[in-house]
Amino acid sequence: MSYSCGLLPVLNEGENEHQYEMSEYEGAKARWCPGCGDHSVLTSVQRLLSAEQLIPDQTMFVSGIGCSSRFPHYLRTYGFHGLHGRALPVATGIKLHRPELNVFVVMGDGDCTSIGAGHWLHALRYNMDLTVLMLDNGIYGLTKNQTSPTTPQGFKSNTQPQGSFLPPMNPIEIALGVTNASFVAQTAEWAPAHMYATLQAAYKHKGFSFVRILQRCPVFTPLIFQKAVKDPARIQLLVHDEGVVAPELDKIYARKVQHDPLDLAAARAMAEQTEFINLGLFFKDPSRPRYEDTRRVPPKTPAERVQLLEKEFARYAV
């Protein structure tokens, strides 16, 4: 990685022999409902932070609003718990100014695919080096059971008691449709080993790593993935050496398909499949341009700025 701010020596100063244990990434006690998939995502993330030995003070979690967006509070890193739907612009600003920070973004389905959908599409295209988790339980939980864009058709909620009117939005299909998207993966909260391997691949990818995590809300949507949870045959793993590698899953999930993550057409076809739930890496292209790299400018000292500005004044001189 290169650094725009000339901060590398300062930042590396703190880097020493210290080994960060998982517990050192724990923040406040998580207050999600018992059985919520968010707990499992939090554990996987803490495991990842420890495995990668990310320095807590150089790591940032940005979230929006919703159950999932409480995430940063439960970690001992820097956190930004902002506005509903607006995690991505904030993360964009942070990464533009401080590209050396490890920046993660955590959003819910309402956050990402509804109120913040515009930012989502553009952030995919900016392809900044962000690890982006969309915790998708197909419902608005915090506000108590309203239909979200990913709610299954026919599902009864407080806002659509007759059942959700339309087929749900397919976030993977959408992400794969965005120009310059570089990493699109799907995993599930009830397959922790797969989730961990997916998060690890996402973190390691330099670019906008979009991970949709399928979840159940234990209060409002406990049964939406019931069939797949009960019957592993309804899950199909996308496997490839360049994809999500989790050999421990071999015993549970028999249905596998070799999928080259560089094959966008195949990825899109797979995203449209409805007979199975596809878990794994749909698409990855590390060669796609990253916005922050294209915007990198050499820093200037105050004295240099003054000198340059005097020069600029000449253009306006009377």
Binding site: Y78, G79, V297
Partner: protein, 642 residues
């Protein structure tokens, strides 16, 4: 404007009434100031002509104020009044602080755009109108009819109409005269106002620096042609004393000043979304900012622009976003977040007419209350308004520093008048200390909290990511000093007080505004923002006519500058002058209780309990000093027992 400008009013369209040829000894009119307009269809180069004329006038040592006349559409159909495009240039022997009242001399490329100016009463009764007359000779009978109708309409005033065959003249040099006549027009102006031709040629060279030598030479030929035509055919000249400044001056518009001020402040990120009339700030920055280590991020929408600026500010140096009214409306939720999380942010609103899409290219001062109160909940923040183009530069330096020191949002309210007005001002003496300090990434102090509020002032040091030991989660939820989410009433009360206290602290550091004129009298006019020049000109005129009137101008709207009540107490009556809507006291159904007053008047009444009156207008143009003068006269107490 003295009537003597016009030798003989001859409002005739017939080319045979052209001024006498061989005006070997033109009458010289020595005047303290003159106002010129060049109007054309969009894309005919009138603006370039006017800009060069203005720049050269400034360089020669005249006071100058230039305003763009902008149609709402990019390419309106030709020869329609609503397509009128160009500039007004007010030139004076002293500094010119506003666009003035009415125009004394116009160069118009067709009679329809001239009608537009006539119909908005932009032209002095005795104005000289130099008009392209090829339309009178058109083969198209509709055009001839339109010309004749226009001449009839114009003849209702005592204008002096001077037909000029501009295109015919230019054809001697260029094949497409439509593209050359702006330089011909510039030549006429150069002759009439005795402008320095060397300086004009330098400006032309600069304006066409990206074009070939041939283009430059052709433009100079056209310039000289216009000059000699005027020499032979125009029977008057205007002489305005020039005095070259001993201090170096810069000449630019308010948006350029904001952009350069941002650079001088050391900010490194401008996040924006295109919107008129704010966008040109980002145009200049996009061109130069990277050389200064900064970037312009064009976000996907106004909301994202605010979010990117806030994210960047949170992570280090203060960033800014620039917008106009509709964009401000979209950003307000993020404004509240920045206030709640005490994340510094500079937000520039270049105001235009509203509500909704309103008047995108025209000036208004209608966003004041939105700037103060548009966010939900109690979101105390700073609101400042530069009063001059020079202040547009300096306000950015102040805004960044205040945003950082007070950990809050600083809104800067400019407007379309400042954004498009061009005037010279003393070159700022730059200071490195204006710029943001380098990022402090040292470990946090023992016990340092994310909001270590000083109980007296509410001030605290912020912690940016990357500082060892400082890890915390910033949140828009109500929180305690450790940034822990807290719903208890006590904590919310306390943290609200801490955020609010900062404004009182800031106010304690400000000085009362200056009073322009005597500290006592019959009437005090209070203004804010771009109206300062026009108000002070009107007040000066009123004072010379014996009225006991003074004025004061506010730069801070939140917190208000201190001492207002005391200043107001010296006057029998206090009245704001603003470019926003207010009911007239005499309007049907309007009572003293339900009267909707000017936005500053609303604020001042609440803050001072003084019965502040207002005179406001929303004409879609800057206020004319003459109208303000009339308003002042109308509010003066009746004298004597008569």
């Amino acid at each position: 404007m003295p009537r003597s400008v016009v030798a003989a009013a001859a409002p005739k369209a017939d080319p045979s009434t052209s001024p006498a040829a061989a005006a070997t000894t033109p009458r010289v009119l020595r005047l303290p100031e003159h106002t010129v307009e060049i109007v054309s269809d969009s894309g005919e180069g009138a603006q370039k002509c006017a800009q060069i004329f203005a720049a050269v006038s400034a360089k020669m040592g005249n006071g100058v104020w230039t305003v763009e006349l902008i149609p709402a559409e990019i390419q309106p159909p030709p020869r329609v009044p609503e397509g009128a495009s160009g500039n007004r240039v007010r030139v004076g022997e002293k500094a010119v602080t506003n666009w003035g009242d009415r125009t004394n001399l116009v160069i118009a490329f067709n009679e329809q755009v001239l009608l537009a100016r006539h119909r908005v009463d932009a032209l002095a009764d005795d104005a000289v109108l130099l008009i392209e007359d090829k339309w009178a000779r058109s083969e198209d009978p509709e055009i001839v009819a339109a010309w004749n109708a226009a001449m009839k309409e114009l003849s209702t005033r005592s204008y002096r109409i001077v037909p000029v065959a501009m295109e015919d003249q230019c054809l001697a040099i260029v094949a497409d005269a439509r593209k050359g006549k702006n330089m011909f027009a510039l030549g006429m102006l150069a002759r009439i106002y005795d402008r320095d031709m060397t300086k004009i040629k330098d400006q032309i060279a600069y304006a066409f620096r990206k074009k070939s030598e041939e283009v430059y030479a052709q433009n100079v030929s056209l310039l000289e042609l216009g000059y000699s035509w005027a020499e032979d055919n125009i029977d008057f000249r205007v002489e305005i004393k020039t005095a070259e400044s001993d201090k170096p001056l810069l000449v630019m518009n308010g948006n350029e000043a904001i952009a350069l001020g941002a650079v001088a402040s050391g900010m490194e990120l401008c996040a924006m979304y295109p919107i008129t009339p704010a966008t040109s700030v980002s145009h200049l920055l996009s061109e130069i900012f990277e050389r200064f280590g900064g970037i312009v991020h064009q976000a996907e929408d106004e909301i994202a622009a605010a979010g990117v600026a806030i994210g960047s500010s949170y992570a280090g140096k203060v960033a800014f976003t620039v917008t106009s009214g509709p964009g401000l409306a979209l950003k307000t939720e993020f404004l509240g977040l920045a206030v709640m999380t005490e994340t510094p942010l500079v937000l520039v609103d270049v105001q235009r007419g509203g509500p909704s899409t309103g008047l995108p290219t025209k000036v208004e001062q209608s966003d004041l209350l939105a700037a103060l109160f548009a966010s939900t909940g109690d979101a105390p923040h700073v609101v400042m308004a530069p009063a001059t183009i020079e202040e547009c530069f300096h306000v950015m330096v102040t805004a960044r520093r205040l945003a950082e020191t007070f950990r809050t949002v600083v809104m800067v309210l400019s407007d379309a008048n400042l954004a498009t007005g061009v005037t010279p001002f003393p070159q700022p003496t730059l200071d490195e200390s204006w710029q943001a300090a380098p990022l402090d990434l040292s470990p946090v102090r023992e016990g340092q909290k994310p909001y270590g509020w000083d109980p007296e002032t509410g001030l605290s040091d912020r912690i940016i990511p990357g500082r060892p030991g400082g890890m915390f989660t910033l949140t828009g939820l109500s929180h305690d000093d450790r940034s822990k989410v807290a719903y208890s009433s006590g904590i919310h009360q306390h943290s609200s007080a801490m955020r609010s206290r900062k404004l009182a602290v800031l106010q304690s550091l400000l000085t009362p505004p200056e009073v322009n004129g005597d500290p006592e009298g019959d009437l005090l006019v209070v203004g804010w923002g771009s109206t300062k020049g026009a108000i002070e000109e009107a007040v000066a005129r009123a004072r010379t006519e014996g009225m006991k009137v003074s004025s004061t101008h506010l730069r801070f709207l939140s917190p208000l500058e201190p001492g207002l009540k005391k200043i107001f107490s010296g006057f029998k009556k206090v009245m704001t002058v603003e470019i926003n809507y207010s009911d007239e006291a005499s309007d049907p159904y309007v009572t003293d209780e339900n009267r909707r007053r000017g936005q500053l008047a609303f604020l001042l009444r609440a803050a001072t309990l003084v019965d502040v009156d207002c005179w406001t207008r929303v004409p879609g143009e800057p206020l004319r000093p003459g109208l303000i003068f009339e308003a002042i006269r109308g509010r003066m107490p009746k004298r004597g027992g008569a």
